[in-house]
Amino acid sequence: MKKEETPQDNGALNKLTKEVVYTVDDAGNYGTELSTGWDVKTKALDVAWEDIEQRIANAKEKVLKGEASPILYFTELRLMDPTIVAAYTGFWKWTIKQHMKPSVFNKLSDKKLQRYADAFNVTIDELKTMTIKEDGI
């Protein structure tokens, strides 16, 4: 990439910092430039987030229809999967799948719910109602 072709589009990271990129000058020598972002990458990130938003919405709908417990919703909301939820809660993946059924979830003790609440960074009340008052993430 030529020095003068360094992309200066608006990227998400630009709120925090410019990025160092390696470019060549007219003589072909490498040096570094600062870039504010590149549309192609910004859009790739947007596409990933649109997909995540869609998955969160689908999960919420399933919970509201009574087809899944709020654990499914928070797993998606926190960009987790059952493996990551297992790592944070200490439950087995198989157990988590059971807990994603509303009938099982509704009978969980506060102690167990607290483990999920901690993993998702919410209170037990927020976990049950899927409403977050103050998001610390």
Binding site: M1, T6, P7, A12, L13, K15, L16, T17, K18, E19, V20, V21, Y22, T23, V24, G28, N29, Y30, T32, L34, S35, W38, D39, V40, K41, K43, A44, L45, V47, A48, W49, D51, L79, M80, T83, I84, A87, Y88, I137
Partner: protein, 336 residues
């Protein structure tokens, strides 16, 4: 404490360079660390999914660049993991009290200063802790222009992020500084290049190195039929995100490698290095063009089978250029 924050394109290169510079290896630059650590790579693991997309990497395994660079320069390394949060903090505080800047592996999901858009459960980010003021740790995150801070709680949370590649509080730093001679750097460059030749053109199997790029190119041509338009778009977006983590200029680390070969020329007077560097610039440019093509597809502007074929062909052509480049590197007759 003598610590100078220098911004880098990539986190592990930056941590390696800045930590080694802090113990006196001032000749080291980001491209040299990347090249000595044989950082350039490609792998596509079809059965593994990351964030529901394909698992693709453009650089070597996390941790290897630091390890290899220190080894090659004969600098002993301390690396520790912890099960106890308290012990992890004590070990860190102890180092800081002794004036030792410390490399930390962290997860980015809870990394509060990162923009939300970047905060996935990715656990192989690297930063340096170089001091403490009250409850705040002074942080040198190499991808940032300036140093920053994290509270002890925030730092603990990212050091003990969970999931794949969980950092387990991991810290690492050079055990002692030793003077490094130009001769050592010269040898380190040579062995770094040889190992990278091995990883890119001699590695067995179809999914890694140059063969992996070609393999991925062929797979992409089938994505539209196999996955459907939307998922295929998501897959391509993920490819581009891996190619352009932070600061690779879209070239999937190929530009940094080109810069490395130019710097290598100052140590080994082989004009081939300059010529081969141009091939990496060319490859980086082709990766960028491929990303533009991919963006056309995931933006929904284009998306016919012919467009996927063009995309796949980019990678197949890139594989040829990189094969030529690494073959040329393998043929260099080193003087020492």
């Amino acid at each position: 404490m003598e610590f100078k924050h220098l911004q880098a394109a990539h986190c592990e290169n930056g941590v390696t360079t800045n930590l080694l510079r802090s113990v006196g290896v001032t000749e080291l630059t980001e491209p040299l660390s990347f090249g000595i650590g044989s950082g350039l790579f490609f792998v596509y693991i079809p059965l593994l999914k990351i964030n529901k997309g394909p698992a693709i990497a453009f650089r070597t395994m996390p941790g290897l660049i630091f390890k290899r660079t220190c080894n090659a320069l004969d600098i002993p390394v301390v690396r520790k993991k912890f099960s106890s949060h308290e012990a992890a903090q004590q070990a860190l505080d102890q180092c800081l009290a002794e004036g030792q800047p410390v490399g930390c592996q962290v997860g980015v999901y809870y990394l509060t200063y990162f923009p939300k858009e970047y905060r996935f459960h990715f656990n192989a980010h690297n930063l340096i802790v170089f001091g403490k003021e009250g409850d705040d740790y002074l942080i040198s995150d190499p991808v940032m222009e300036e140093p920053t801070k994290l509270s002890s709680y925030e730092l603990e949370r990212v050091r003990f992020a969970k999931g794949a590649l969980a950092p387990k509080g991991q810290i690492y730093y050079p055990k002692e500084g030793r003077p490094v001679t130009p001769e050592q750097i010269k040898n380190a460059i040579k062995s770094g290049i040889k190992r990278n030749v091995r990883d890119m053109i001699r590695i067995p199997g179809p999914i890694a190195g140059v063969a992996g790029i070609r393999f991925t190119g062929k797979k992409i041509k089938n994505w539209r039929d196999k996955l459907g338009q939307q998922t295929a778009g998501l897959y391509l977006a993920q490819l581009v995100r891996m190619q352009e983590e932070i600061g690779t200029g879209g070239g999937g680390f190929r530009y940094i490698y080109g810069a490395f070969l130019q710097e290598a020329h100052a140590y080994h007077k082989k004009d081939e290095l300059i010529e081969i560097s141009k091939l990496f610039t060319q490859s980086g440019d082709m990766w960028r063009s491929a990303a533009v093509q991919a963006a056309g597809i995931y933006k929904g502007r284009i998306g016919s089978q012919a467009d996927f074929d063009v995309m796949g062909d980019y990678l197949i052509k890139i594989a040829e250029v990189e094969k030529e480049a690494f073959t040329a590197l393998s043929k260099i007759k080193w003087d020492s």
